[in-house]
């Protein structure tokens, strides 16, 4: 006869386990959310740098020279990718919500990733 053995505090012990396994559209949702947060955090910095044109043009030029660094080019590519992914993911959501046709959701999600990678890839190649 098999009794049970108490395994102790696995997973969360205050409540029942609360994780859910991911799937394609869920990853699309997470990517859309994280790209939005990333862009929202980036914008104040972006605006501040551009405002230097008003107060300290030399500092602006200095900053722009700094953006020649390879790491910065990579970061810029990342930002363009986040922006593109957020835009095209958002358009996919708007189509899902407001257009009446039934859409191939996973195909469209894959498509937004592809277009975003393509556009940010073009940017990167021009930038380096």
């Amino acid at each position: 006869m098999n009794g049970g053995t108490n395994v102790g505090m696995s997973r969360q012990s205050g409540r029942a386990p609360a994780r859910i396994r991911g799937h394609a559209l869920w990853y699309a949702h997470i990517l859309h959310r994280l790209s939005g947060v990333g862009l929202a955090l980036f914008l104040p910095l972006h605006f501040w740098v551009l405002s230097l044109a008003l107060t300290d043009v030399a500092a602006l030029d200095g900053f722009l020279a700094f953006t020649e660094l390879p790491m910065v080019k990579l970061a810029e590519f990342g930002l363009v990718f986040l922006l593109a992914v957020h835009l095209f993911g958002g358009l996919r959501l708007m189509a899902l919500e407001w257009l009446p046709w039934p859409a191939p959701h996973k195909t469209l999600a894959a498509g937004t990733l592809a277009v975003s990678a393509f556009l940010s890839g073009i940017f990167f190649l021009q930038a380096i």
Partner: protein
Amino acid sequence: MLELRLYMAQRITALIMAPLVIGHIAVMIYAVQGGLSAGEILGRTQGSMSWALFYGSFVVAVSIHGAIGVRTVLSEWAGLRGGVLNGVCLALCALLLVMGGRAVLAVTMI
């Protein structure tokens, strides 16, 4: 009906920004070639009413859109509610409007 109004505001600003973002990415792809410099950027944008309108509307739309988006994330992932939640997001909207407005002025004013 706050939820409905926030939803509509976010969707409408999203649609307004779609062509603006495409335009912005296109400009970035063009401008980044051969390196960036203040002179090159300002030479294009200074004194230009069209750039002022383009980026001015972009700033207004993104301030509303971003604040509403962040509101959702703070509510669902950080558990903020009520007055604190709305206060933080109004503040973010104001911050983006002010800083963005300054940036637009900085590059388009003569």
